[in-house]
């Protein structure tokens, strides 16, 4: 009986998957352009940046936190990397590493303030959002940093065996994040801290270290997303990524991560990100006028999650 209950929940968890399938089916019937290889390549490439952010923020939300600074971290990373990625200056590894380090450092700073001061993550990362945006503008003097090397631009624009490089990055990140969450001690501690911080503490888990880890990872993934973005638009934009954090958080929550902490999966988050991507793509394909697009987009997202929650109730 107990076993039965646990297994059932396993499917229910991906209830949003059913909603996703429904949306895809609807789109396939209404536009012939939807279910093509080229369109799906585009969808997944487009989704990759939001998905990377969403993976990072999933870790954070499972611990019961939130990260609003993702978009700004992307901008700082992008500007930093771009200024080192002009042709014939440094090898491409330099902007990559420096960019990633910038993101990791900002994430770690978030974690440090949150664990040392007990200021709510919402405020700390909202502050970091503003600070980061300012830093990106200062670093770039308010101007886009362009003229980037071909090897740098390959990251966001290139193909390997016909597969766009961002898709490859997405797949690898998904596997790594899933493994970290499900198969490692850190992952277990992340669930424990979010599920019951007191219990985690009483079990000898160093809660602050776990929190430091998730914000740092989240910063690192935001940096990766920032580099992808910069390379894709071949410019380091100080105002890149504005509002991206909300989409990333939405993807995670649509995918079943609860803001009260303790639950969530990377698969769910991936489906959440894909759902948003597919709706946005579909509405463009159907040529829905832009004002109505927003209304429809909002309604479908709520509808999909309602479908999911009904689904979970009946199981």
């Amino acid at each position: 009986m107990n076993k039965y209950v646990t297994q059932f929940k396993g499917i229910g968890q991906y209830g949003i998957f059913m909603a996703f399938v429904v949306v895809c089916l609807l789109l396939s019937f209404t536009t012939s352009k939807f279910l093509t290889v080229s369109n799906w390549t585009i969808i997944i490439t487009q989704v990759s940046i939001n998905a990377l952010l969403a993976f990072g923020v999933t870790f954070v939300i499972i611990t019961g936190g939130i990260d609003l600074s993702l978009g700004s971290i992307m901008a700082v990373t992008g500007v930093a990397a771009a200024s080192l990625a002009h042709p014939d200056t440094y090898p491409v590894i330099v902007p990559l590493v420096i960019g990633l380090l910038a993101g990791v450092a900002m994430g770690a700073l978030n974690g440090l303030v949150i664990t040392k001061s007990k200021v709510p993550p919402f405020i700390v990362t909202l502050g970091m959002m503003t600070i980061g945006r300012g830093l990106a503008l200062i670093l770039s003097k308010g101007r886009p940093v362009s003229n980037l090397s071909d090897s740098f631009n390959f990251i966001g624009g290139g193909n390997v065996a016909g597969i766009p490089f961002p898709i490859i990055v997405l797949i690898i990140s998904f596997i790594v994040c899933s493994v970290v969450l499900k198969k490692t001690i850190l992952g277990r501690y992340i669930y424990a801290v979010g599920g019951n911080e007191q219990a985690a503490k009483a079990s000898g888990i160093r809660v602050n270290k776990v929190k430091m880890a998730v914000y740092t990872i989240c910063g690192g993934l935001a940096a990766l997303a920032g580099i992808l973005l910069t390379s894709r638009i071949t410019t380091g934009q100080p105002n890149a990524g504005v509002g991206f954090e909300l989409d990333a958080i939405a993807a995670a929550i649509i995918g079943g991560t609860s803001t009260s902490g303790g639950t969530g999966t990377m698969t769910g988050t991936l489906i959440g990100a894909l759902l948003i991507g597919v709706i946005s793509n579909g509405l463009d394909l159907l040529n829905v006028t832009s004002y109505y697009q927003q209304v429809v987009m909002g309604a479908i997202i709520i509808g999909a999650v309602v479908l999911d929650s009904w689904n979970q109730k009946t199981t």
């Binding site: 277990r188 669930y191 424990a192 219990a199 985690a200 079990s203 000898g204």
Partner: protein
């Protein structure tokens, strides 16, 4: 002589926002002994133990473990050195499985240093639980367990740590006699291996069954340490309470009136089946059964917290279909849940605000709350139930476990019900307060209120009930009169199927 002691605590002091919870407390624990720590609700026992395990840092004092001073405030270090603890308020992670909870912080790893090997902990947990004789699946999520099952898992967790000292803070508050017996066997086994147990409980009989030594705290102060054999229960109570106590079960003066609640053929799939009973005004109906017998589920169904599949509930002869606690309260039903943390109180609200929560419209004119009326009933309840709190404005979060329970009872009483369902009402309540609650139950019945009392403590069931309903695995196996009921008959019906 000192080498004899595995743990020595001296001069321990701790205050919360200026109020002293512990004042220069001491404790000496020998290897292989069961050392009972006794005291009334709010005496400081849990605070003391939380300091030992490293969850709280003391203001002053030293802790010597195996001859070395123990670093305070570092749980991880304390656990590694060999002290573990069963916490009074269950510290579980609901979304993780039973095995994952048992091995939290001590995960098995395989080929990579941080790569989880969950099969191994599943296997070990399964074995451990089987050895303890509890039928809990290692891969069930913790949130699907009943409170009693959670407590058994907490016990499993603490003993699986191979600790040299195990602190048990009210480990039996949520389990029934059968599991208590299991626990005591485990304790005996641990003792023989030289493990020291610090045991906290408000159940006197337990103390005399297993304790070797008893230390008593009162109002955060150290009162004394005695060998259990040289301290009889009257003297112990006097040490704890600071005065002598009367008989535990007061006599009732209530006369049975007309039927208040009648339950007919009540069934809920997988929970309980064909339950029939009625309760009269002025009567106490006890419900006994083993852990998981379905007692709580019946109470929840009657109170509108869960739905049921078939059968009917009559209030004063009128058939009702109560679908929410709001309706239940409107029908004059009150419910004191066994899960006080989950269903009982609002931690962030004050004692006063919790007490009036279920009856707020009675203390309001239109939309506006009348502070005077609220204050009056709050201080009355604090007096009547002897709730130990700094004042009525104190947040319930900061009360000791037993006092939180009293607040919950106070809240339900305030709603002036005609029928009260008490689910494990004296869980975690000290002996003095227990007497107060028993007295209160009689006061209620004397006023013509009907009482349903679910309890896993047989003496309490026997001492208080006019009739006793016995359940086994969701089925009703007996409805005994006061005269028929003995500990043996109840146990017989509770295990029948």
């Amino acid at each position: 002589m000192t080498s004899d002691y595995i743990l020595q605590v001296n001069g321990l002091t701790k205050s919360f926002s200026g109020v002293k919870a512990l004042d220069n407390v001491q404790l000496n624990v020998r290897k292989g002994e069961v050392h009972a720590l006794m005291g009334e609700n709010g005496a400081g026992k849990s605070t003391f133990m939380k300091i030992l395990i490293g969850l709280l840092t003391p203001d002053a004092g030293e802790i010597i473990f195996e001859g070395n001073e123990l670093k305070t405030g570092d749980v991880n270090d304390v656990l590694k050195k060999g002290i573990s603890m069963i916490h009074q308020e269950m510290l579980i992670v609901p979304e993780l499985t039973v095995a994952q909870n048992i091995f939290l912080g001590r995960e098995s790893t395989s080929w990579l240093p941080s790569w989880l090997d969950d099969r191994s902990i599943d296997r070990q947990s399964e074995a451990l639980l089987q050895q303890m004789g509890v039928a809990i699946h290692a891969r069930t999520k913790m949130k699907h367990l009943s409170v009693a099952e959670m407590q058994m898992v907490e016990i499993a967790k603490a003993i699986s740590n191979n600790a040299k000292v195990i602190i048990m803070d009210e480990p039996t508050s949520a389990i029934s006699d059968k599991e208590v017996a299991t626990l005591f066997n485990i304790i005996k086994d641990l003792k023989s291996k030289g493990v020291a147990i610090i045991y906290i409980s408000h159940k006197m009989d337990e103390i005399y069954q297993i304790a070797d030594t008893i230390t008593v705290l009162r109002d955060g102060k150290y009162i004394g340490t005695k060998s259990a054999s040289e301290l009889d229960s009257k003297a112990l109570i006097t040490m704890m309470v600071g005065r002598e106590m009367d008989d535990l079960f007061p006599t009732s003066s209530a006369v049975e009136g007309e039927e208040v609640l009648s339950v007919q053929h009540l069934s809920s799939k997988g929970k309980f089946n064909d339950i029939n009973f009625e309760v009269h005004a002025g009567e106490v109906l006890g419900i006994a059964g083993l852990m998981g017998a379905g007692r709580t589920e019946i109470a929840r169904a009657i109170f509108g917290l869960d739905s049921y599949d078939s059968g009917s509930v009559f209030i004063k002869g009128k058939k009702t279909s109560i679908k929410s606690p709001h309706e239940a309260i409107a029908h004059g039903i009150g419910y004191v849940s066994e899960d006080r943390k989950g269903l009982g109180f609002i931690p962030g609200l004050s004692v006063k605000e919790n007490i009036t929560l279920a009856s707020l419209p009675n203390h309001a004119k239109g939309w506006f709350i009348q502070p005077k009326s609220e204050n009056t009933v709050a201080s009355q309840m604090i007096n009547d139930l002897k709730i130990k709190t700094t004042n009525a404005e104190q947040k319930v979060r900061y009360l000791s476990g037993g006092n939180q329970q009293k607040v919950v009872i106070g809240k339900v009483l305030q709603a002036s019900p005609e029928l009260i369902i008490l689910d494990e009402p004296t869980r975690g309540i000290d002996i003095g307060a227990k007497f107060e609650i028993y007295k209160l139950i009689h006061q209620l019945t004397a006023k013509g209120i009907a009482v349903v009392m679910i309890s896993s403590e047989l003496p309490e069931i026997l001492g208080m009930s006019d009739r006793i309903l016995v359940l086994s695995k969701g089925k009703q196996t007996a409805l005994l009169s006061k005269e028929e009921a003995t500990q043996e008959t109840i146990m017989k019906f509770a295990m029948q199927h």
